[in-house]
Amino acid sequence: MDNVGMVLVALIAGALRVSTPFLFVSLGECLTEKSGRINLGNEGALVLGAMTGYAASYETGSAWIGVLAALVAGGGLGLLHGLVCSLARVNDVAMGIAVMLAGTGIAFFFGKPYIQPSAPQLPVIPLGFWSDAPQIRSALDVSPLFFIGLLVAFVMTWAFKNTRTGLVVRIVGDSSDAAKAMGLPIDRVRVIATTIGSALAGVGGSFLSLSYPGSWNEGLSSGQGLVAVALVVFARWNPLACAAAALLFGAAGALGPSLQTVGITQGYYLFYAAPYALTLLIMILTVAPGRVLRGMPGELSLTR
């Protein structure tokens, strides 16, 4: 294989491997933001989910129970954020950072005994069975969580457009005045959206510990939960675009190592920053002063 082909395969493989946590956290963040709140605490939910998932998988011997545990742990953290932010005058950005700290703190605290043991991992779907090339086979060993994430993206897109629930979330997120006039339970909708959003982030965390890289330690997350906030803006609050953006971020993350393997070694720090620079650039190119971002929830404190 020539170098370009090599890098391309590595990028696709990297995208499939690295994108799943981005996918879940950004979908969770997207749902939360659609309801008019922002939750930076999803980083904490991700880390807590990774730890809980790993611990539960180790204790019960079933990785899927681990995923479930991560869902519950993430959701719990989201519930805390949702409820506290429902109190008047509580700032959701700051609370998110506090929740992030609490989540990672609890995860590190209870995660100490699980750094050493190896927990059962999630199975993979060998989509590359048709190929003889080991690179392609391994690149196409895709985690079922990736497909579940894609499914969630489709369901969310459809639900926002076609269901009453989706409409309620959107109205609550776009204008609390309109929601009030319609007698919608604003706080309850937001609490539920935040809880589900964080639960998704928790599942994203369980992917880190139970699939790829598939191990629990304290440096596991390199801020995927925070980056997801940028990713959602990048994706214009559209769940399907979130999936595409997650793949793009995953590929960008794989760019550094794979370029080094073909001999491009200068400035790898700069390659690693590529996704962030790209997001900023696209924001600069597509956002114009005086124009509201398409898809942006009107109630979002972040975007005003």
Partner: protein, 373 residues
């Protein structure tokens, strides 16, 4: 319109209830409210954490006495606390100043590392000059680079309509990458073999300790900056213009205030503070710029600023609180055998509790203005 502030931010910045004539006690009651609410929140957090400890089989009393000993109990411990608080005062300003205009900037870490890098490079290249001059040049360059970096966020916000929270976060990631690239690449001191650093600024140019203390002058700088900006915001027409703009953009424009320029200035001033924090780390601690500069002070500053309700003055006790907890962290690890994350959990409890307590303000009528206003 470029900027539209939330009604909540508006009410927060301008809704200082008018003081009815004759209610001379109101300023005191308001002060009391501002003191009592966080203290009550702290107590609630402490209770919650105590329950957590009891579940783990650790005595909360042992824990509390160790925290006291490690953070405040002796002159040594208190200096430890103050020293840890020092950089956080400046990074908190990086959040609190733009917040006066209703902006949420969370990328201070980027300004810290780039400010520190600029200071280190300038310091090393001028190192033969008269030391106070070198220090001054370092401070100016650190502040300027920090101001540029966060000012860029403000500019993107004011003139391009890009959300400042996300822009500053992305810029922080980019800043770290640029910093690492430069420190380990073009700006690396060839003699810094196993710990890539820039050229040393030289022993003569290092800031010593404050006289009679084991604390570097960054503490004084932080305190002066906090108090100074508090006075600017509360007492000058410039600060008033900020508050008006932060409260309501329409009013600001009607008053003929250059809102966009004010945004850039507020962000740049905040960034200058964070850049100075980086410069202090170089001049007082490391002597050169290396990866240790990215120690998370920028992120801790966000919490301090919010805990202080964006008041530069309030940042002082909150930074001391956070400094004290981390100062005590080591003792807790060593004496009780608890993991290092214990301190993170405690911080989580305290921050959630204090931030939630925001909702209490104004709920009790006793603290409110009286009379028939």
């Amino acid at each position: 319109m470029t900027i539209a502030m939330s009604s909540e931010a508006a009410s927060k910045a301008t809704a200082q209830p008018k003081q009815p004539a004759g209610d001379w006690g109101y300023p005191f009651r308001r002060l009391l409210e501002q003191l009592l609410v966080p203290v009550a929140a702290l107590l609630i957090a402490a209770t919650g954490f105590a329950i957590f400890l009891v579940f783990l089989g650790t005595s909360p009393l042992d824990f509390a006495s160790l925290v006291w000993r490690g953070a405040f109990g002796s002159w040594f411990s208190f200096q430890n606390t103050l020293q840890r608080a020092a950089p956080l005062l400046l990074t908190a300003l990086c959040v609190a100043l733009p917040a006066q205009l209703g902006l949420v900037v969370i990328g201070g870490e980027g300004a810290v590392v780039l400010g520190g890098l600029a200071a280190a490079v300038i310091g090393a290249s001028l190192s033969a000059l008269f030391p106070p001059l070198v220090i001054l040049a370092m401070a100016v360059s650190g502040a300027l680079v920090g101001a540029f970096w966060i000012g860029l966020t403000g500019w993107l916000r004011a003139y391009r309509g890009i959300n400042e929270t996300i822009a500053s976060l992305l810029l922080a990631y980019i800043a770290l990458a640029v910093f690492n690239h430069l420190v380990e690449g073009p700006l690396r001191d060839p003699a810094s073999l196993n710990k890539p650093s820039t050229l040393p600024i030289g022993e003569a140019n290092m800031l010593g300790s404050l006289p009679g203390m084991n604390i570097h002058p960054g503490l004084v700088l932080g305190l002066v900056a906090c108090i100074g900006f508090w006075i600017v915001i509360q007492r000058t027409s410039f600060g008033f213009a900020w508050r008006v703009t932060g409260g309501n953009l329409r009013t600001a424009l009607l008053q003929g205030l250059p809102a966009n320029r004010l945004i850039v200035i507020a962000c740049a001033l905040g960034g200058a503070c964070a850049g100075l924090a980086g410069m202090i780390e170089v001049a007082a601690v490391h002597g050169s710029a290396n990866a240790s500069l990215a120690a998370g002070y920028g992120y801790a500053g966000i919490l301090i600023a919010f805990l202080a309700r964006q008041s530069p003055l309030g940042a002082i006790p909150m930074a001391i609180l956070l400094g004290g907890i981390s100062a005590a962290g080591g003792l807790v690890q060593r004496r009780l055998g608890l993991p290092d994350a214990t301190v993170l959990v405690l911080q989580g409890f305290i921050f959630v509790s204090i931030l939630a307590s925001e909702t209490i303000y104004g709920r009790f009528r006793w603290f409110q203005p009286r009379g028939t206003a």
